[in-house]
């Protein structure tokens, strides 16, 4: 039997499969379909200092093998997450990955400080949300700003800090290096790719926010490429995501350089996808005589 455990910047995950922030709420809904303890970790909806209402509908448009979304970080605020959601998630034997977003450097500092004192295992800092006006992606697309916001947040972090990168950049390795230099303990990628759809009958954009983030199987090759590039550029662990559907996709993402992975959009098609992928991964490893997940990480042969 393959050993699926992963040590992800000091936190032991029972397997490399986590859920992608924003696709899994706080775990209640998918928890009706499978036992959350099966997961290596649960990535929760992106949190902000205070409640955010999000954008008006429509917030989703389907595309071939993908979706565009412009939810706009609707969430109850970090305090209510800490009070109401952490106790729920702690009933399960899985790592909690809190995901935080801010509009200013000070907001990121405050969020990281607060969540560090709460009972979470990892902090994912989202500097790549394409769906909010200020902050979000604006931070994640310029190396100097990445460096500023990450080093400020890192000073407040008492838990491992994962910096989530935007794919909407010319050179992702430049951003990855800036985040690592500023003290990021790990990187996660990719967030969604900025996209747009138009209703040709009304000539209006389908999404209320005009543009939205593309996710789902359509982005998988882009994600694999970016993880591969970032793996060569930095030495911190990588949480790979973007379009993963199956256990074989996970193997591919690991080979490209990921240490653990997150699954998101695929669950909208099949709520059991992470559980099925877990079994597939295990079977594949056994069939190929691979003893541990770390044997696969970055093992692509070029």
């Amino acid at each position: 039997m393959a050993d699926l455990r992963v040590n992800f910047c000091g936190v032991e995950l029972k397997n490399p499969i986590t859920t992608a922030s924003g696709t899994f709420g706080f775990g209640h809904e998918y928890g009706e379909f499978f036992d959350l303890s099966l997961l290596g970790g649960v990535g929760v909806k992106g949190l902000t200092p205070t409640e955010r209402l999000g954008n008006p509908a429509p917030r989703i448009a389907e595309t071939p093998a993908g979706i565009l979304n412009c939810v706009g970080l609707q969430n109850p605020g970090i305090d209510r997450f800490i009070e109401e959601q952490i106790p729920f998630l702690r009933q399960y034997d899985t790592a909690i990955i809190a995901n935080v977003s801010g509009n200013t450097v000070e907001e990121y500092e405050g969020m990281v400080e607060k969540i560090s004192d709460a009972d979470v295992d990892l902090i994912e800092m989202n500097i790549s949300c394409p769906n909010v006006k200020c902050g979000g992606m604006a931070f994640g697309t310029r190396p100097d700003m990445v460096e500023e916001v990450v080093s400020a947040a890192k000073k407040k972090a008492k838990k491992p800090l994962i910096v989530k990168l935007s794919p909407n950049v010319t050179d992702i390795t430049e951003i990855a290096r800036a985040a690592e230099a500023a003290g990021a303990d790990a990187l996660s990628l990719i967030n969604t790719l900025l996209g747009m759809r138009i209703n040709i009958e009304t000539r209006k954009p389908i999404l209320s926010n005009i543009m939205g983030g593309l996710s789902g199987p359509a982005v998988f090759p882009v994600a694999v490429r970016m993880v591969y590039q970032v793996r060569k550029a930095v030495s911190v662990p990588i949480l790979g995501m973007g379009g993963i559907r199956t256990g074989k996709d996970i193997v591919e993402m690991l080979l490209a350089g990921a240490d653990a992975v997150a699954m998101g959009t695929v669950m909208f098609a099949d709520p059991m996808a992470p559980v099925k992928a877990l079994r597939e991964l295990e079977d594949w490893m056994d069939a190929h005589g691979v003893k541990s997940v770390s044997e696969l990480s970055g093992a692509v042969e070029v």
Partner: protein, 255 residues
């Protein structure tokens, strides 16, 4: 509590131009279903997202949906044959509370909003109420389920162009009979629901409406199916059609 069930198609019938009825074996889902809930159906390899379809009726472990072909997903669904398998999540969402509508409720459906009202009417009858149905369609060709409704209650049919039954809108009928009613439930296009909510409000009647929005997960995890609601402080907040709805108290909706 929602479940994923692989459901075998028992029957797929064409009701009219682009209009279909599918009955499927769904014993586990039927056991938990309440009127006004919906199912989220995987529609073939080419469509990543499931399609939300209201539960029209259910009996003896068989669940019925009635739908209109709009695009690729519903086209795929319409091509199902007896014995084919469907991957279905359900029952989802928060349905109608028929008891809260009193003993003389009115159930209104507009176009493809008609199907979910059928189970509502049957439930109200079962609860000892005397429901009436008002069913509005674009034209004669769009008329569906008329006999199903007439078998269980008094039903008024309208067409927008007068090509069948009464010429006019469901709201014309509602205005005439509203004085003699105890509550209103409706499903259909948003402008219709808004007009109905205003009439019910003016008459001081409870009114429940079933809203529609584009969905992702269908279970409340992704937050894409936002429906603007009135917050306590008078501002707008977003509820979610798949979990808080599809049925909302009309007074809560920020029209």
């Amino acid at each position: 509590m929602s479940i994923q069930e692989i459901c075998r198609v028992a029957d797929c019938t064409r009701l009219g131009e682009g209009l279909y009825s599918i009955t499927m074996h769904a014993p586990a889902i039927c056991e938990k279903t309440q009127v006004g809930q919906f199912v989220h159906i995987a529609c073939g390899e080419g469509n990543l997202l499931r399609r939300p379809i209201s539960i029209c009726d259910w009996q003896d472990g068989k669940l019925r949906i009635v739908f209109q072909v709009k695009g690729e997903g519903t086209k795929w669904l319409a091509a199902r044959k007896e014995g084919d398998e469907l991957d279905v999540l359900g029952p989802l969402g928060h349905g109608f509370d028929t008891k809260a509508l009193g003993d003389k409720p009115i159930f209104i459906g507009g176009g493809i909003g008609v199907p979910p009202m059928l189970a509502c009417v049957k439930k109200a009858v079962g609860e000892g109420a005397q429901p009436r149905a008002v069913l509005g369609f674009r034209n004669k060709d769009a008329v569906i389920l008329e006999d199903d409704f007439k078998a269980v209650c008094e039903a008024f049919v309208t067409t927008d162009d007068g090509s069948y039954a009464r010429h006019g809108f469901v709201t014309d009928v509602l205005k005439e009979i509203v004085a003699d009613t105890t509550g209103v439930a409706a499903c259909g296009p948003k402008p219709m629901l808004k007009a109905i909510a205003a009439i019910a409000d003016a008459a001081g009647l409870p009114c429940q409406v079933s809203m529609e929005e584009r969905m992702g997960c269908g279970i409340g995890a992704c937050l894409v199916c936002a429906c603007a609601l009135k917050a306590e402080n008078g501002e707008t907040r977003y509820g979610h059609v798949c979990k808080d709805g599809p049925v909302f108290d009309a007074k809560e909706v920020a029209w």
